[in-house]
């Protein structure tokens, strides 16, 4: 099991790094799918089959497909122009190293007090159990997420709506300000 974990961890970190390094946004999205897949298998090992499968359907399925659609729609695989600003790099690396050091200190402090994780007990994390908790203890947050999703979809439609023929919102704005003058 340790071997499985180590292999999966290396794949996850490797795909994350290559997602950041590759210049083509489509490759980034595909590496992201692989990363989500490996993390889903880790969820399975941790005894969360329901979360693992919803990870695959929600993230690897819909979210990344949405990303790919937008990348292809905009034709934005590669940005023209060269490197990012130098000072950003010089600032970003020390800050991230600081964060990693923080994580390391905290995990090291916890070290030994945490449990060993073995195979999950039978029936732990089943959809039935999650459904019971979700629809009793967390019924109100569940309804709220439904409203959030509705608002998000309506908002996305309003934002991405095709504009009226020949008149862009920018022109309307300009006309407005000119009239006010």
């Amino acid at each position: 099991m340790l071997i499985v974990f180590i292999v999966l961890a290396f794949v996850a970190v490797g795909t994350a790094v290559s997602m950041l390094v590759t210049r083509n946004a489509i490759y980034s999205a595909l590496f992201l799918v692989l990363n989500f897949g490996t993390v889903a298998i880790l969820y399975l090992i941790l005894g969360a089959p329901f979360i693992a499968l919803s990870q695959i359907t929600v993230y690897a399925g819909s979210v990344v497909v949405l990303f790919l659609f937008v990348i292809m729609l905009l034709g934005a695989e590669k940005l023209p122009g060269g490197e990012p600003l130098r000072w950003q790099r010089f600032l970003a690396f020390p800050l991230v190293i600081l964060l990693v050091a923080d994580f390391a200190v905290n995990i090291n402090r916890l070290g030994g007090t945490l449990a060993l994780i073995d195979l999950p007990p039978r029936g732990y994390g089943e959809p039935v159990e999650i459904g019971k908790v979700l629809f009793t203890q967390y019924a109100l947050p569940f309804e709220i997420t439904a409203i959030i999703l509705l608002v998000a979809v309506v908002g996305a439609i309003v934002l991405a709506r095709p504009q009226q023929a020949g008149v862009s919102r920018r022109d309307l704005y300009k006309r407005d300000t000119q009239e006010r003058k």
Binding site: A12, V13, M19, L20, L32, Q55, Y59, V96, V100, I117
Partner: protein
Amino acid sequence: MNTIPAEYYLILSAILFSLGILGVLLRRNALVVFMSLELMFNAGNLAFITFARMYQTISAQVVVFFVMTVAAAEVAIGLALMVEIFRTKRSIDIDQMNSLKG
């Protein structure tokens, strides 16, 4: 050898989170910045699931489910904004998004 120390999962989660932050700070393509955000969500979820397993509680898995739904909503809105920015600016380079009023 059938057990894994919980620290390993937390270390992996921390590494993935740091890589996500690195992506947000370094990349100029707004879409890749968004993907890095998803990576960070993912790292947080992994830590949640680890603690759920450690303390044998199912609530943390429910919380992860909520995080996933909110992340999906966030991606829908964010990508709609991205399309709109592309329409006015003809680019999704973050360095060029430096003016208000379109």
